[in-house]
Amino acid sequence: MISAVSNITSMTAGTININAGTAISNLPAVNSTALLNILEKFNNNYKVLINGKVFQTQLPVNAEKGDEILAKVLQQYPFTLALDKFDNLLNAESGALILLLDKLQLSKSVLSEKILRYVIANKKSLTKSKLEKLINYVEKAGIDFDESQIVLLINLIWDNSNEGFKDVANSYHKIFDMSFEKLSSEIFESLLRLNRLNLPQEIYLKINEAMIFDYENEAHQFNLVSVGDKSDEFLSLARTIESEIEKNILIESSIQELEVIQSLMIKYILQKSIYNKYNIYPEFVVVKFRSRLELINYKFEKSTASKDDTYRIFINPDQGRFENTAIQAMMNSSKLFGVVNTTMANFSRIEDYMCKLNTRIFEEINIDSYLTVTVDETKEMMFDSLSRSKSLNKLA
């Protein structure tokens, strides 16, 4: 039975403001969670059922007939609902999240709770069909997804219709059959094997250019390509490999290894392209020092919330190999804030270094740099006060 049909009065990114007209009685209480049932979609409008009443409204998300979405009631008059304001639950006891799963009649498991946390943190709507799809996909994929992969999947599922995601999922499964970290590690291992072969010089030159950050070679030390996106260089190297193989002068073992790295580099380009679409920039560099090579993984995330793009930098090398030190920083076009998290034993010897580094960064690129040192316990000190990257927060 239709109790009330009203028109929307306003809508922001995550908030809907419904003119409840005469239907102001029996509205869900302020701060409670309301369940929206999508009854019908016509043009840009939806007929939604809330607490036994039907409302006509626009939605800031792509919903389909039959969808069920949770919203937080901000006020009753005007009747205002928020689809992206559940982040207060992230620090609450897990019981609060279980209640949300219960309202949506979703399975209550460690996995579904973990996924719900990611969806809330990324400010996506709590749409039952999309949550269900994500939980099922992760459960059945047989892959141990890392955080970046799950965040990416959330974006892909929330951005695409049900049909659209079926097409995307097929390629996704092949391209992301390994995490970016694993992919980097496979490229690194392949590179070490290639080093033991006798290949045309051009291949070694291109590998150096694309990946090697040579600490001991002053002239080559600031190889900025090696610490940035390597897609152009990898494509060029993949093509060189293709033409060298076609010449038919390489031995079989060399061909096999070159084909391995060629395929990994193409996978790198594809993974990066999809990640970058959602402002996530995983990266790796191979550092050369004392005639050894070391792999370091790191990640940038871009926030486009303000006029001036802000980037978060996470460098978390293999802990045992780099003095248990990790770096988190945030940078825009004029400032760099960062914390070097290390052990108490390293603390004093890094402090002075950071002062000099801050000065050098300012002199070199005119950025006010505030890199400081901290020890394990205060690791999240600076970042706790910052919200998750807004780049990932676009409500789909």
């Binding site: 097409d167 995307v168 097929n170 390629s171 092949k174 391209i175 950050f213 600490y215 600031f222 900025l224 610490v227 940035g228 996106d229 897609s231 494509l235 993949a238 093509r239 293709e242 060629q262 395929s263 193409i266 996978k267 380009i269 594809l270 990066k272 392209s273 999809i274 970058n276 679409k277 560099v285 550092v287 020092f289 004392r290 070391e294 370091i296 940038f300 871009k302 793009d309 980037y311 930098i313 460098i315 090398p317 780099f322 003095e323 030190t325 770096i327 920083a329 940078m331 076009s333 070097v340 010897r349 890094i350 270094y353 000099k356 580094l357 050098r360 960064i361 070199e364 690129i365 950025i367």
Partner: protein, 67 residues
């Protein structure tokens, strides 16, 4: 219209069997990534400094001494 970069990436992706068909979504992502350009160079410079720092720390050199 796809640029040469995208065409080549997709061709090699199929050849190396990283994907099994030329998915429109993937192709658009590659295209968009190429067009959008790279991250600002200042980010690479800061990253390079930080990599230097990590190796300095490991080496106990260039101002990060054990003394």
């Amino acid at each position: 219209m796809e640029n040469i970069f995208t065409k080549e990436v997709m061709r090699l992706a199929l050849k190396t069997k990283v994907i099994s068909n030329a998915d429109d979504f993937v192709s658009k992502c590659v295209e968009q990534n190429k067009k959008a350009g790279r991250l600002p160079i200042r980010l690479n410079i800061v990253t390079a400094y930080l990599m230097n720092f990590l190796v300095d720390l490991k080496n106990g050199s260039r101002g990060v001494s054990n003394g």
